[in-house]
Amino acid sequence: MRFFPFRRRENDLDAEIAAHLKMAEQDRVDRGETTAQARSGARREFGSEALVKETTREVWGWNGLRSLARDLRYAVRIVRKNPGFSAVVIATLALGIGANSAIYSAMRAALTPAPIPAMDRVAIVWTDNFKRGEHEFPVSAPDYLDWKGSGAFSSLAIFEQKGRNMRLGSRTERLDGINATDGFFETIAIRPLIGRVFGPQDSQPGHDDVAILSYGLWRSRFAADPAVVGSKVILDGAAYTIVGVLPAAFPRYGKDPIYSPKLLTDAIDSDRGSRHYFAIGRLAPGLSLDAARKRLDDLGTRLAASYPMTNAGTTPRPQPLQEAFVQDARTMLAVLFGAVGFVLLIACANIANLVLARGTSRAREMTVRAALGASRWQLARQSLTENLLLAIAGGVLAMAPAAAAKTLITTFSIEELPNADLITLDWRVLVFNLILSAVTGIVFGMVPALQMRNVQVHEALKSAGRAVAGGSHQRLRGLLVVSEVALTLILLAGAGLMARTFLRLRAAYPGYDTRGVLTMKVALPVRQYQSGDRQSGFFARVMEQAAAVPGLRAIGAIDDLPTSDNLHGTGLTFPDRPEPRSEDIPLVLRNSVIGDYFHAMRVPLLRGRYLNDADGKDAPRVAVIDEWTANRFWPHQDAVGRPFRFGRRGAVHHVVGVVRNVDAGVADTVFKGRLGHFYLSAWQEPQPVMTLVARTDGDPLSLVSGIRDVVRRIDVDQPVFDVMTMSAVRAAGSTSQELISLLLGGFAALALVLAAIGIYGVVAYNVGRRTREFGIRMSLGAQRSDVLRLVAGRSLVLAATGIGIGLAGAYALTSVMKDLLYGVAATDPITFAAVTVILAAVTLLAGYLPARRATRIDPVLALREE
């Protein structure tokens, strides 16, 4: 009989009370009352049965559980009885929470540490130059060797990302590669899956023909065959012995790279000013990061004193690996997280608003329940249960929009976002959702509970529930709408700025014509093409033979496309001007071009001439510059014919032509300002890695096989890779901005809809409440326009207040996004004005629709109502 202890006691109590009433009734009948009198008298004397039961149940002790079950039952009933309301609330929450959890999982993935033992001891070491304001520059080989001797690190290595041409059978293909000095694997301290990692013996000249496979490469190209260790592989035309395979969890640079030892034997490795390696080190045992920083600072000062030409103002700066890992994504994630937080806040405000509006229609129910003996706590608990139920339903359903947003984020595969492949919607995200929805449920569930605080049961019953909807209540709803509008404006401003950035990056004319242009890369291994002549000769032959490819109008090549994030910076000096201080030497970008590069890209010539094959190795050194550079360094004079040098000791070059400006894409965003741009002849400045640029009248992809065949005919060992149309290359350069624009735009649109619903709700409710009043006004002679003004006036005030606050907030907050923006200020007045207009229009419309209804009121009907 103990299966239903609740039920048994409950029945028992019911019977006890029934008996009480019966006996009281009987006594009254005995005293001479009629049956009816006796019944109502007994009931009156007894008081509230519900209250007696409730207080008695509390004595039993398990009331908490019981009342929860009852509240839930009741809540489910209420939710089902109001499908429209419930659907709006659940959908709003699902979207708000879904957006939050997608960004949350992206953030969690980004923050997942690489599986490096004692990772907090590992740091990337950058070169900072405080005099030039340069931040996080790579390191040169001589500086590295000095840093290594600082004692700050138990191991310090430098590495470079260098693609390799790997021949496998009859095919040669391009791979990502990492060349690292001795100590790289010691620093990362991850054991190989098979075989061994590099040791000091592999850094001896002549013994460095060894390679290690990344897990992905081993799986995709070597069929995960363990016997591959010890076998040979042809890289850049030379045989390497595979000595090991790395585990899947190894931190990656690039996609499935192949590793080989880096020997610092090249000429460039004796140039202290040539900073192009990444340094990674493990702190010496017992040395704190601060202590290491101190040692490196001292070392930096000493080096700057010894080598002022290259090191004035520079200092080595260690940055914990984890921090380096996420910092690119930090601004982006912060902005997105802020945005989804706002969306959720707006959703909460909106639901609180809806709940309030419904609270007024339920006021009578609440007062009746209060009159029947429900305590305020019980009423509050009931409202909390209802809202929690809605919130949790929303939280569970949020998995759908979260999955959609996750797919969106992962398909963009943004470089800056680490571990994008780790973004998963697992139980942790569900838990996050549920916690978030519980919190939101409590937040907006408190509203009607607070609203019940001041209910005077007696008064409320008399006035049929209208008293609850008093002034303070309307003020609260107004406040909610104002905050919604303000938050929406901030979101719109953020989205607007991102959209402008994105449009500028993509749609703005970049200084060249992307249509009809095909690009592809060829990387000549220096081992096979040692001299610059041979390198340029190869590319010249490709240009020559490709001219015969059907449909090809022009072909040229450049070492790095304007969209590339590979920058060749160099110092600029002038032989005809006084020797500058080293920190005053401007940094400029330089590129090597060959063939008809300018024609293929349609970069117009303004003065002088283009480069051509006559600008050979033994001809006078020449350069073509862009318009901005001409005005910057040779203002008020013709730059053509003027001399300059790269560095202090470089050969004297002369400007032979000035072309139209070309957007430098990444360079502009990295350096926050334009740099001078110099084009050199590849005959004079040869480069082994060039990007071919070919123009056609039709579909650029129709050129692919023709050019590929040309390259193969010239050297079968040289693969063509990164084959893309110029439009695609440009689009790829702004994917993170595109993703953020898309997400922020979506969030802002959502916020706009929610704010409109909020305003509409408040005004519509007001109109409904004042129908009678408007009827009286109109029968007394008020015009429709008067009524319209009366009603619309309120939404105008709400919208204007919200927009004012939102503008102030946006002004303060958009500066956070500064790093994400390009070509538009964080407080861009045009964007701010545009979003203000949009928001004002939407909110006014949302207020006008119900206001118009007020003007359609028939005075006679309105007066007769109730």
Partner: protein, 115 residues
């Protein structure tokens, strides 16, 4: 809802009154309420909202026990009766009450004090 013409019972006093009432014999809730009212000269009225929680509380403490029986008019009702522990509790509460009321009387009627 207030009943200003009636005296509100002190916290804990109701339990004592119920136990005292039950000393005269088994009774049901309605009977207990009536007995208290009658014996106080209509001055004390026990609210059902206090009575039933009190009865259930006393039962939980083990001071009273209940069973369903028929009244003399043939009505089925839940009768409460004192347990041994309940009798002990009543005695101790009675003592406490006597002391308390003597103390209060001493303060309220200083003339009656023998000094």
């Amino acid at each position: 809802m207030k009943y200003q013409n009636r005296i509100e019972l002190l916290q804990g006093t109701l339990d004592m009154l119920i136990l005292q009432t039950l000393q005269w014999g088994n009774n049901h809730g309605y009977g207990i309420a009536n007995a208290i009212r009658a014996n106080s000269g209509e001055l004390l009225k026990v609210e059902t909202g206090s009575l039933y929680p009190a009865l259930h509380r006393l039962e939980k403490q083990g001071w009273v026990k209940s069973e369903w029986k028929l009244t003399e008019t043939g009505q089925r009702a839940k009768f409460y009766h004192l347990t041994a522990a309940g009798k002990k509790q009543l005695a101790s509460e009675h003592d406490r009450w006597t002391q308390l009321s003597a103390a209060i009387a001493g303060i309220m009627n200083p003339a009656a004090r023998e000094s």
